[in-house]
Assembly symmetry: C2
């Protein structure tokens, strides 16, 4: 079943976005903030129509038998719509990165050189069930001076359509053209795939959702991609770890919100630590109802542990299960993370500063923790406000991506006839 009434013209929409992005790039911070406040109020005022649309998605979801976690991600209520609005107001309060003079100097011939931060242009956002991304990503894009093309998951299409409708109507009374927000109103995968190669009109694609979605975009897009999210994160408890810190940190990273990307998925324990603190650790894991998929040694030592298969090392559990590996040298832990990590967040618990230094130097990830939980890899936890995603790639932006990740620079030279 397609919910679209007529075929969407993805290219025409991307072109409209691109055209709108040019004017948007010239607006002042105040004009952009005004638009965000206007959208925020409009979302609150139109809560009922948004919730009504959401009701259709929830009904479809129930018919399709989605699980509770999925339904929770999909579902909106008055409080959540209020949160969208508050999120937009928060973004309005953040510094505007666009227009910042990053550096400037003058050549000996008198040519003045500036590097100026400017919007990327058009952001293509490809995401799954969460309708909040529709409002959050739009706020971040507009604030940084970018137009946005939104392609949300088909299961949330009624909610997204309603949210975008409200936002575009609100924009009509502001300096930002409603064309700056484009909603691909289609459940057809081909519409998404058209975005992959639209280099002429889209400057960056940001996929948010599960690993399959992200890999489909990364592997098929010729438009540059900001890869986000999959976090196969490890906690390594070193031989010189403080047992209380170690257990608290792992429990927090594993159980606080098991389904998020900065949650821990594998516990790696140095054998010497285990020899001293096995009872305490295993008891804590049992009490927290953590299921264990262990390597051979772990299965031998820990009652109730299942043998881990390749898939358990390689994938996120996103649940209270954990993989469990025992090592007899820190370098084995580092090698394991090298093999299976997704370059998101990795932690070492140790009182040994040499071990910490080695781990921080050799582990290749966006965020490395010494004696702290991986759960802090998050824009708001780190203090820079809303994020468009958490980059697990190395180019352009790494880790939680705030507004500056949605900008690039331009060299601007002012001369009086200089030639070379």
């Amino acid at each position: 079943m397609s919910t679209t009434i007529e075929p969407v013209n993805v290219k025409a929409q991307a072109q409209l976005a691109q055209k709108a992005s040019k004017e948007l790039g010239l607006l002042s911070t105040e004009e952009k903030n005004d638009a965000l406040y206007t959208i925020a109020s409009a979302l609150e005022e139109n809560t009922n129509s948004i919730l009504e649309a959401n009701g259709k998605d929830l009904e479809n979801g129930r018919e399709k038998g989605f699980d509770d976690a999925y339904m929770d991600r999909l579902s909106l209520d008055e409080k959540r719509v209020k949160e969208f609005a508050e999120g937009l107001r928060q973004v309005a309060k953040l510094d505007d990165p666009s227009g910042e003079i990053v550096s400037e100097w003058t050549l000996v011939n008198g040519l003045e050189v500036q590097t100026i931060r400017v919007p990327l242009g058009v952001i293509g956002m490809i995401y799954e069930a969460r309708p909040n991304v529709t409002a959050d990503a739009t706020g971040l894009a507009l604030k940084s001076g970018n137009a946005i093309v939104l392609k949300g998951g088909s299961t949330a299409i009624h909610s997204n359509r309603a949210i975008v409708g409200v936002m575009k109507e609100a924009l009509a009374s502001t300096k930002i053209s409603p064309d700056a927000v484009q909603f691909i109103d289609s459940t057809d995968r081909a519409a998404t795939e058209q975005l992959f190669t639209m280099k002429e009109h889209i400057d960056v694609l940001i996929p948010r959702g599960g690993g399959k979605l992200i890999q489909a975009v990364v592997n098929n897009a010729t438009v540059p991609v900001l890869e986000t999210g999959v976090g196969n994160c490890h906690i390594y408890i070193d031989k010189d770890a403080d047992p209380e810190k170690a257990i608290n940190i792992f429990l927090n990273a594993k159980t606080d919100r098991p389904a998020v990307c900065n949650a821990a998925e594998t516990l790696i324990v140095h054998e010497e630590f285990l020899n001293q603190h096995e009872d305490k650790l295993v008891t804590a894991l049992k009490q927290a109802k953590i299921g264990i998929y262990g390597d051979e040694k772990a299965v031998d030592r820990i009652p109730g542990a299942f043998p881990a298969q390749e898939e358990h090392w390689a994938n996120e559990f996103l649940s209270l299960d954990t993989a469990f590996k025992i090592v007899d040298h820190i370098d084995q832990a580092i090698d394991h993370i090298d093999t299976y990590g997704t370059k998101h967040s990795e932690a070492i618990v140790t009182e040994n500063s040499e071990a910490a230094k080695r781990f921080k130097g050799l582990v290749d990830a966006a965020a490395i923790y010494h004696n702290a939980s991986t759960r802090f890899t998050d824009g708001s936890a780190l203090g820079f406000g809303a994020e468009i995603g958490i980059s697990t790639q190395k180019l352009h932006a790494r880790g939680p991506m705030g507004l500056p990740a949605l900008t690039t620079i331009k060299y601007v030279m002012n001369g009086n006839g200089q030639i070379r």
Copy 2:
């Protein structure tokens, strides 16, 4: 004819590079500089063997009937080898970006957050005839703490093999493992294509060469790419341009080095300027032996102008020819650049500050010039020394890319048991 003796194992080489990159990332600036100086001296000492190898490439090139410009790019002499060595010494003197603490702050819970600049890891360099790239790119990669996999053009394979051989032998006596420099000793296109998808082992691909090579990499690589180089650059002479500046700037941008990427390819002239200064401009173009491919108006007005086809607007001439367009509004110039520009370097000549502001705000390119020649888009001209290429993309790095473009950041958190 393949010049390889046995099939190369691209994957094994990339893995060796990756392994070497990890140790390399932990070296001090002094250790890396020492290695660069050692390579520099070795290149000078082995000039004869490098020139002998180059002789084979030149002989093959002559047999294949390459044109003079190509042969010039391919050809080495004592002076050029000396320049490789000097280039490496220059890079040794540049600031080491790796290890720089970019920012640091402490959360209210006491968690210390740092963002630290770190090497990307392994750089895959795919390039064409110029053997100097072999030494230059290696120097920049090693200085910034990266390993490098080199895949040069098959026409320069003897030269590249000799240069890499000397560099690796020199590295053996330094703290940098010779494995950090990998040379794909093959003329087989399949070897290059293997690099495109080796995401596990290569962190970024940098293509340098003609548009065809660059597009092949951009369109087929799943490894992130830093797109470089093609410059379809425009000089726009506004109605309020100073005629002397305008003519000098265009002549410089067109004729100083017509084959480079920051050379001008299209001249766009406001009709009012032309009405006043046509004789002066046309005389100057004739004297400089510039061939003109004009739009309809230009062909009508300028004796000897050929009618421009789509290809003339869309491609680099890389010669003394120019496309020539007449507009009656600045926005037509901006639209034309939007349509045909490659986001490299664009210039406006005008004494009107409003026109300059509009052009600088609306034209989307790495470098925008007001009253200066596009020829300054170049790492050394702008004062930051050697460059690995000129980025025409918006993500990660834009414009001339020096050492910092070969790095990323890592969030490093130091805690004492913080959980969320």
